[in-house]
């Protein structure tokens, strides 16, 4: 459903930096795809390009065979720092995008409440983000994105600003939502620098090298779901170790230290 072909992104400044260098991949229907790589490999930029909020220099990004030309209501995103509007309550935050897209207020409110309930936050509908915990904020972010009924959900390091316990709960919840047959959103693309997290969640992991960002490896994760039961399996550790060694090799090749490579278990 989504195809990226020979994508090149450069940041021009005093020195031109090639952030993404000829990246190609395809996203299958109903897939949970994860892109991992060290800081500064251009993975977040890649996600923003798909979301239609960042321009690129060369190559093609096709959604259902048509080039992406800007933000698309069928592709929604959740952010590392949640991106909630501080001046709106949880409910209003979910409701606003619906209204912007022409749904009338009453109907938008109904849908917003429904999705807040799906993420377990109906009691906090009238609370401002300021008074919500990090995990709750990200739940609002997820509800806001899903309420738009997109086909693709993009997630930019969605758990990296949460504490590990909250993150772990939320990971399982996201997987539950992804598997929910009643939801119209079936395709998830997540960017992460946490390798175990990627292996825990994804069907397929794309590994990116640091600047210039290239895809150096594609790993199919064939561990059966639910994976909570398999996080101690040797297979799990083999895949994690393999991906880490690929990243380390890529880092060594570009003579840069690998920073922030978290190897936490889920």
């Amino acid at each position: 459903m989504l195809e990226v072909r020979n994508l090149v992104k450069e940041f021009s400044g005093e020195r031109t930096v090639v952030a993404i260098d000829g990246v190609s991949f395809e996203v299958r229907d109903d897939e949970f795809l994860c892109i991992v790589g060290p800081s500064g490999c251009g993975k977040s930029t890649l996600l923003r390009i798909i979301a239609g909020i960042e321009k690129w220099n060369r190559g093609e990004v096709l959604f259902h065979g048509k080039p992406i030309e800007g933000p698309n209501e069928k592709i929604m995103m959740i952010f590392q720092h949640f991106g909630l509007l501080p001046w709106k309550t949880a409910l209003e935050n979910v409701q606003l995008p619906l209204e912007v897209h022409g749904i009338d207020r009453q109907e938008a409110r109904k849908i917003a409440l429904e999705y807040l309930q799906k993420v377990g936050l109906s009691e906090f509908a009238d609370t401002y983000p300021h008074d919500l915990s990090g995990g709750m904020k990200q739940r609002v972010g997820i509800a806001r994105a899903l309420a738009m009924r997109p086909e693709i959900l993009l997630m930019d390091e969605p758990f990296s600003s949460l504490d590990e316990l909250t993150a772990s709960t939320l990971r399982r919840e996201v997987l539950r939502i992804w598997a929910d047959p009643k939801l119209s959103t079936k395709t998830f693309i997540m960017v992460s620098h946490n390798v175990s997290e990627a292996v825990f969640m994804a069907d397929r992991v794309l590994v990116m090298s640091p600047r210039p960002g290239k895809i150096v490896e594609e790993v199919e994760v064939d561990i059966p779901r639910p994976r909570v039961e398999h996080t101690r399996d040797p297979r799990f550790f083999d895949i994690v170790d393999h991906i880490i060694s690929v990243i380390e090799a890529a880092c060594a090749a570009s003579a840069r230290a690998c920073e922030n490579l978290l190897v936490k278990s889920c």
């Binding site: 995103m77 720092h81 949640f82 509007l85 912007v100 300021h130 008074d131 904020k137």
Partner: protein, 551 residues
Amino acid sequence: MPRTQNFGYAFGFLAILLIYVLVLSLVKNPEIGNLPYYTFRTFARITATYIISLVTGLFFGLLAATYKTASTILVPLFDVLQSIPILGYFPAAIIFFISAFQGAEIGLELAAMLLLYTSMEWAIFFGIIGAVKNIPANIVEAAKSFNLEGLSYIRHVVLPAIVPALISGSTLAWGDGWFFMIAAEYITYGGVTYSLPGLGSYLAKAAYEYGDMNLAVVLLVIITALVMYINFLTWHRLTEKAGSGAYKPIFASTWSRRFALSGVRRLAPVRRIGMSFRFRHSVLSVSKKRMYTKIEKGVALMALIFLVLVVVMLAQPNVPSGDEIVRSLTIPEMANLPFYTLATLARLTIAYFVSLAIALTMGILAAERKGFALVFYPIYDIGQSVPILALFPILFISISQVFGGRLGLEITSITMLVADMIWYLFLNIVAAVKTIPDEIREVSQLLGMKGLKRIRHIILPAIMPAVVTGSMLSWATGWNTVIFSEYMPYGSEVLSLPGLGSFLDKAAYQEGNTVLLGFLLLVMTCLVIAVDRFVWRKLLRKIERYGAEVM
């Protein structure tokens, strides 16, 4: 880069030199030969006052920052002091200094410096307080764990942390000094004009005594050029230097990405831009908003009343008896007091809304088109440097050609108010627009918000705290300027509009009625505080509901 910069400094110096040579040789005015001397005197006056402000600001600021007891008294006291119309107290100060030195120039000089001081001190003091409050809790804890205490704590933690605030506070203070220069150098009291040698008094004389508008404009241009050049030479360079570290200047010439999400808040936690959302999710809110307890407010108010009483007593060697007070206050014009109050309030309100409309438009333009923001800084720089009080004769002549009589005068008065009030709003709003986090911008982009929807749901709420802080300050400064904008010497006559400001001026300058002066000041101060409490504080509380923070 440095080479072109040095070239710029040299070029600027030569340009100013050339202006002086041209003016000295071309302008025909008996006093023109004194221009370099006047420049020197004004420059020395402002510099000396600035140094005093800096030293006392540092002293009180550090005192309030390190000792809790000092802070509970000093901060509310300074807050009340800075929100009352300083110019209104000026006559009382002059009466005191003139009588104390029997009209000698030194007395006038001290009075002028006191006026300048009262306009320069606040930015520095509150800048320091704000910066100390914004030292991240982890740094304070780290310092404690290494046993940094007392002087070594101040030296290694506090001083480095307040450098950016000192620089931006100094920039504002310096600008304010030049702003009030004319008022300080050229004073009419009880029908007599006192003037101190300086650029401000020369400008006033050119306009009022010689009636030479060309000379007034030339002097205005010289002053503006001089202020800008000095700014570039000093504050801009310092700001850039301070900005190279962890702190960023408010108007960094590049729009740095991710800037708003970085842990350290922007430079210049000065009163003028002391408020912003804390978008960061982490629990940084150690510096809880500054709200005083009733007792603190009471103490501050008592201290203030005491101060005013002392000044009035000193100014009036013979304490007025009850009879005298009654006689001074029961003049026929007192019947007009409610009307005067309403007239002044109306003028200020109109000027405020005009300023707000312009500042909001510019702020939104800056938010939507990054290019605009880069243009706005120079506008601010020039606008802030022009001494507004000097604008009056020039403004009036041009406006009265379109609108005759009262109306022309009203428009001139309101224009002057706008010219003074708009900068606080403008500076606050543009700074707030710059700190809207990228993620918020991205969200609005992703959700396809454009045009009015984007302005209504994203830009306006994001800059709301800045609008409220800007409004508080612009309103306070408006009260200050209204005293001048309603009562303007023009040639040999005085043009005045009915209002509290002109009433106060008449009481002070024409009749020398100290009791009435004191009474009117009290009325004005009460009005300022009432508006602050019932309008601005209410708005602040509304915004705080969703987590915006007051410095």
